[in-house]
Homo-oligomer: 143 residues x 3
């Protein structure tokens, strides 16, 4: 385990609200570029009209795709924003609630808000960078 | 997507502990009134003896109710506190863990702590207000 | 419900990254001892190669163990670090995502990162202490 001090005073906090039809990963990426976010983390709740989840297959080194084609509650969306080759990279995992209360989830590839997704983001005054790791096939945070 | 700066120094943080029998939404609402919270977010874990969940039906514009009548772990409870017509409004989603490890969840309408629910709340020095949105039938955060 | 002010300026924030094979609860405990953490909370995402979950049985006053023996996404890991008889105590609940998108979860007893677990930890400048509660059989936070 490795660690890095991110902040001594709690950082800057933003509220972001996604409206019906807004795609969350692309919206967050645009926000991250505009605000030059280099080390942020976030938590959200709301609902999606549809989503595309991923499950990372460690042998194949790729995401198995899990389409969600129904209205679902976003029970928790947690993630971070780091730099991957100089560009902001969103890493987010989501837990979804179906109409009968069953929970599903995975790595969030795409999620379409309906009617809303409410997200709280904390920005830290440092950089967190990812670097490609050949063993896993993923860009991992290097502290 | 819309955004608002909530804080430049991380805000004020509280720990709240709910004991056996305490209902979380009403307890949080009382706390919010007493502390005049106008823009807060929280995360919690613990366990419930029972709960009432909701799944928002976008066509009917109302919550389908999902009663949970068994002891469950509160795996994650995330939410925010905003102002709705001047009164604090709790918006919270929960993921519950059953005795066999299955996960369920939804919008939290009621949750009864047993033996404990541990909640960390961050207060921001701004206001976040909700306003009724006729299209969805919900009070959404307006930034 | 009881409450305690933890911080007026958002606290100190750390990023922790667990690599393949790192066990999260023992790694966090070591970090807490080294940094003398006395009131912290955290949120994480990533993946486990295996885990051991618990479901607290209120009558028996002990955890039923739920072994997870497959690669799973860590959809959300939320928890806190407090003092229990002077030693840092990790309390964490996890939601896991299986290959088909099904979600499971419980109290985290052990979790083995693969390929990574990314954790953001906020430290507060106060103490939160646990004390054994005979009624529940658990050490609960006393505010």
């Amino acid at each position: 385990m490795r660690s890095k001090l991110l902040d001594r005073n709690g950082g800057v906090t933003y509220a972001l609200v996604f409206d019906t039809g807004d795609e969350v990963i692309s919206g967050l990426t645009t926000f991250a570029k505009e605000h030059r976010l280099e080390a942020s983390d976030f938590t959200a709740l709301g609902a999606f009209s549809s989503a595309l989840l991923g499950f990372f297959e460690v042998k194949q080194k790729e995401y198995r795709k899990i389409p969600i084609e129904e209205q679902v509650e976003v029970l928790t969306l947690v993630g971070n924003i780091t730099l991957d080759e100089g560009e902001p990279k969103i890493h987010a995992h989501v837990v979804l609630g179906c109409a009968d209360g069953a929970a599903r989830g995975g790595h969030l590839l795409e999620g379409y808000a309906r009617p809303t997704l409410e997200l709280i983001l904390s920005e830290s005054p440092v950089q967190l960078r990812r670097r490609y790791d050949a063993a896993s096939g993923l860009a991992l945070i290097r502290l």
